[in-house]
């Protein structure tokens, strides 16, 4: 409870000069502290950014590896496709050559092109025409050639020509 008619004056242990001095030092210290805090914050942000960049780098590396794998895969696919394409061209050429080989008097009814061989079914007026006009070029192409003839009612022969290329030659190819 208050009993005095007046309020006590405010007391302080610091003189005016000391107050000024303390204020100056206080402001200076607070500025230093704020600068220090700012630097700490910047350092923290820098670390955070660096971590983010490192993570990004790691992700990119992983991505690069994945892409490399994909590229390898695509390259392999490309090689395969080229191979297939080449094979197809060869096959096409082979078929084209095959049809070029077949003379006009012999009629093919079926042709089976295999990896290492060719089986032809057809009709020939006689065996000689076949032997001279078809078998001779086939022999020059294939290593082994087997022919079978079946006589028809009209005097023609149905033939089956089985031709093989040996493995070694095939590998070279």
């Amino acid at each position: 409870m208050r009993y005095s008619y007046i309020k006590p004056r405010k007391k302080t242990a610091l003189s005016k000069d000391m107050q000024l001095l303390f204020t100056f030092f206080g402001v200076t210290l607070s500025m230093l502290f704020l600068t220090y805090m700012f630097l700490l914050f910047r350092d923290y942000r820098f670390d955070q950014n660096r971590a983010e960049v490192l993570q990004e780098e790691r992700d990119l590396r992983v991505s690069i590896e994945t892409m490399k794998d994909k590229i390898t895969s695509i390259e392999n696919q490309n090689i395969l496709s080229q191979r297939v394409f080449t094979k197809n061209i060869v096959l096409k050429d082979s078929i084209h050559n095959l049809f070029d080989l077949v003379p006009g008097r012999i009629t093919l009814s079926q042709a089976q092109i295999m990896e290492n061989g060719l089986v032809l079914y057809g009709v020939t007026p006689n065996k000689d025409i076949y032997n001279f006009m078809l078998q001779a070029p086939l022999r020059s192409i294939f290593h082994r050639t087997y022919s079978s003839f079946y006589p028809l009612d009209n005097g023609w022969f149905r033939f089956v020509s089985t031709n093989y290329i040996d493995e070694e030659s095939n590998d070279e190819y």
Binding site: Y5, I6, P8, R9
Partner: protein, 333 residues
């Protein structure tokens, strides 16, 4: 925050000033954490802030930056009224400073007197100005709340008088010493006469100068040879004279005291009569009086009060400086 920490590190100095009519007392208390570690008192023969007093207070102030100067209000325009809310019924609050005490009653003093006091002590400054009524209520707190009595604080020239009924203030007045009227003086003389008749007679019958001179001359005539003079006789005569002087001085002091006590009695009596007759106050018949004695009154005042006013008198010594210091400490700590 910093100031609070510093405050706990420093000791607090309480400088309490009691201004009397002829002298002022400066009481110093050095307090550390609610404990009084040292105290001293210095008296100055002045009732204003003299150079000596100023120097002493300045030396006290230099002990700690946390110093508080308290003074007892001596304003003639102070008093107390028995309400906190309806003070305008009793006093003009526009020119008075008021403090509500215990939500029951109000101390007041003149704003101008407070300004004058602050102006007078502006070189050292003042932190607290206490009313004698608040000191009185604190000093008799145990009695105020449990009885219907008159409570007075006796100072050198002033009396703070109030009437409490179980903690409720009925009446209060701040009294100054009056100049005797002739009528009062005569009344007082008759009262004093009976008690001091013998002493007065003895005193009147002795002429110190005559006694001294005659005795010496007779001795010189009787003893022709100066070498035969006994030093013992002179010493005895001299000591007798001294005794007589001392008695005379004591008597004068005693008479002054009686005057003073009678004066105080008259002041109290007038004030109580005013209490009984003024319609503003809820007067009740009071049978006892508690006196806080700061000056050392004689038994005469007690006797007057008992015999003339039929009051039960209880006198309790009060150290005003100490009470002032306690009040100041209570405000701060």
């Amino acid at each position: 925050m910093l100031s609070k920490i510093l405050e706990t590190l420093y000791t607090k100095v309480f400088i309490n000033i009691i201004v009397g009519d002829s002298k002022s007392v400066v009481y110093l208390e050095v307090v550390s954490k609610d404990e009084v570690i040292s105290s001293e008192s210095e008296s100055f023969k002045t009732n204003i802030l003299s150079t000596d007093m100023y120097t002493y207070i300045k030396s006290c102030i230099s002990k700690s930056p946390y110093y508080y100067i308290a003074i007892l209000d001596k304003s003639a325009n102070q008093g107390a009224v028995p309400t906190c809310n309806d003070t305008k019924r009793y006093i003009d609050t526009t020119v008075l400073n008021t403090i509500c005490i215990d939500k029951e009653w109000t101390c007041y003093t003149s704003q101008d007197d407070i300004k004058d006091l602050k102006y007078e002590y502006q070189s050292v400054g003042l932190d607290f100005i206490f009313s004698p009524f608040s000191i009185l209520s604190k000093f008799f707190k145990d009695k105020i709340n449990s009885s219907l009595s008159i409570f007075t604080l006796l100072e050198e020239k002033n009396i703070s008088l109030c009437v409490f009924n179980n903690g409720k203030l009925l009446y209060a007045e701040y009294l100054h010493k009056k100049i005797f009227s002739e009528e009062d003086s005569l009344m007082m003389d008759t009262i004093v006469e009976d008690d001091d008749e013998d002493m007065s007679l003895d005193f009147d019958g002795i002429n110190l100068d005559d006694l001294d001179a005659d005795e010496s001359m007779t001795s010189l005539e009787d003893f022709g040879d100066i070498e035969d003079l006994s030093t013992d006789i002179d010493i005895e005569e001299f000591s007798e004279a001294q005794e007589i002087k001392e008695i005379a001085e004591e008597k004068e002091i005693s008479v002054d005291d009686i005057n003073d006590d009678y004066n105080k009695f008259i002041m109290i009596q007038d004030s109580i009569n005013n209490f009984y007759h003024d319609d503003k106050y809820d007067s009740e018949f009071v049978e006892s009086i508690f006196i806080a004695d700061s000056i050392g009154i004689s038994s005469d005042l007690k006797k007057y009060l008992e015999e003339e006013m039929f009051l039960n008198v209880v006198v309790r010594k009060i150290g005003l400086e100490k009470e002032l210091s306690d009040m100041a400490r209570a405000e701060i700590l």
